[in-house]
């Protein structure tokens, strides 16, 4: 028996107050920020399908697992997500912090780097994807679980808080000088966006590859809430629109629908308007944020002894893609 299986059985037996056995424990590919496993937990003849999210020794993004756990709890019932079950911040029998949630079966999560993964269901999935994001932007968050750990910034401060954070990540983790992203950071500080129309729950990584669909045109779950925070909801829209996530299709955002259609769907669901100036700022910002994440990935790859190929491809291929995206956006903004 593996240490992980034994640790899970001890934990769940204690949690539920009844002997629990774990079967079909297997790690799911991807998930560079948390190790993700599927498992079946059997208690007194009742089997529950579950997902374990455990902190890895080295991570793509330094995030607070409590925040992710509370984000799931906050949006459950409003956005399609699995039910969060238990959180253990000191690691307990699993050595590292983790949380458990129910498993949603029967779905698929395509890689962001494949061609046309949604085929004839792209329009239907796009309508749900951007409508769901609009509903998230409209969701009241006062008094919800996420407010235990996430402060609400003033509308005029959203951009600066986000930019300070991610430019700080680049400053801390950069191993080779990056003139392009640094020029983009300076541009963003010189040209602040309009204040947020509303301070909303921001998913933080809302993109293709982070939702599960049933293969027949229905989204089953929005996943990976580890970068959730409160801020300007246009931030999520800018990230979802980033060319890195377009599945080699320049005419459809996220490989789903044309950008104008996505904006119309989002506006209808959120009750907000997309100011083109705000979207331009948050689009460049998101390319900076991406580059910050890949910069950290490269550092973690080195610190972890070069053993995680997901960190390698993040710190190498995606970093160079984002340099291209950043350079093109900067040239556009400067009229070159």
């Amino acid at each position: 028996m593996s240490d992980l299986k034994a640790g899970l059985e001890a934990y769940l037996t204690d949690l539920w107050g009844a002997p629990t056995s774990v079967s079909n424990l297997s790690r799911i590919p991807g998930g560079a920020s948390r190790e993700t496993y599927r498992l079946d937990a059997d208690t007194g003849g009742v089997t529950r399908g579950m997902i374990l999210r455990r902190d890895p020794p080295g991570s793509l993004i330094e995030t607070d697992r409590r925040l992710e756990f509370l984000a799931y709890r906050t949006v459950h019932g409003h956005v399609p997500v699995p039910q969060a079950v238990a959180l253990e911040e000191d690691g307990g029998p699993l050595d590292r912090p983790f949380f458990l949630m129910e498993r949603i079966d029967g779905g698929t999560v395509p890689s962001p780097f494949v061609f046309d993964p949604y085929a004839e269901h792209a329009a239907a999935l796009g309508a749900q994807f951007f409508t769901t994001l609009g509903r998230l932007a409209a969701l009241p968050h006062e008094g919800t679980p996420i407010r235990e750990v996430a402060e609400a910034p003033a509308p005029e401060d959203c951009w600066r808080i986000a930019l300070d954070h991610w430019s700080g990540v680049i400053e801390a983790d950069e191993q080779h000088p990056q003139p392009i992203v640094r020029a983009a950071v300076r541009w963003l500080y010189r040209h602040p966006p309009p204040p947020a129309q509303r301070v909303s729950i921001v998913h933080g990584d809302y993109r293709t590859g982070n939702f599960m669909h049933d293969g027949a045109g229905t989204i089953l779950a929005i996943l990976d809430w580890e970068m959730a925070h409160l801020g300007d909801p246009i931030e999520d829209l800018g990230w979802a629109f980033d060319p890195l996530w377009n599945h080699f299709d320049e005419n459809r955002v996220a490989g789903l629908v044309p950008q104008a259609e996505a904006i119309a769907l989002w506006e209808a669901a959120s009750g907000l308007k997309v100011d083109p100036k705000a979207l331009a700022w948050w689009s460049l910002f998101n390319a900076v944020k991406g580059q910050a994440i890949w910069t950290s990935a490269a550092k973690e790859y080195r610190d972890g002894g070069f053993t995680d190929p997901i960190l390698a491809i993040s710190g190498w291929y995606t970093a160079r893609r984002h340099d291209v995206i950043l350079a093109r956006r900067l040239a556009q903004l400067e009229g070159i």
Binding site: S2, D3, L4, K5, L25, S26, R27, I28, P29, G30, Y37, P110, S111, F113, V114, F115, D116, P117, A119, Q175, H176, P177, Q178, P179, I180, R182, A183, R186, H247, F248, A298, K299, Y301, R302, G305, F306, T307, D308, P309, I310, A312, I313, G315, W316, Y317, A319, R320, R321, D323, V324, L326, A327, R328, L330, A331, E334, I336
Partner: protein, 143 residues
């Protein structure tokens, strides 16, 4: 840029050579092998173009710095003269790091001075640098 090609190739070896626990076999290992295959494909591009790209980029940055020295200070001429000790990727990257640091400092000075012409020229150079460094991922079919 990081990680360097030797890091990635050694990392691929270790990712396959170090046995994982039972729960990390099956689907997880299949996914990991797929990523390692992609890294190998990208590594081939880096072998084909990496040296040429670095030599070009170093020369291009060096030219910008040298040209700006008269206006922005002799220190840029000194940085512009930075060259690799040999043509290994490591030596080219070391020289590139020094030149890029110089370019960052120059661009900040150019922006502070409101030197729009030179600013646009540097932004244009960024585009060329990024395009030349870009790695091409083939549009893989969805499974």
């Amino acid at each position: 840029m990081t990680p360097a090609l030797p890091d990635i190739l050694r990392g691929n070896f270790m990712a396959l050579a170090i046995p994982g626990p039972p729960e990390q076999q099956g689907e997880f290992m299949t996914g990991r092998v797929g990523v390692i295959a992609l890294l190998s494909l990208l590594a081939a591009q880096e072998v084909e173009r990496g040296t040429q790209t670095r030599v070009w980029e170093n020369a291009a940055i060096s030219a910008v710095l040298a040209e700006a020295a008269e206006t922005y200070g002799v220190q840029y001429a000194e940085i512009a003269s930075t060259g690799p000790v040999d043509l290994s990727l490591e030596a080219l990257d070391r020289a590139n790091a020094a030149l890029r640091r110089g370019l960052i400092a120059l661009h900040e000075a150019v922006e502070a001075a409101g030197d729009l012409l030179r600013h646009k020229m540097i932004v244009g150079l960024y585009g060329q640098m990024a395009e030349r460094r870009n790695l091409e991922l083939p549009p893989l079919p969805a499974r």
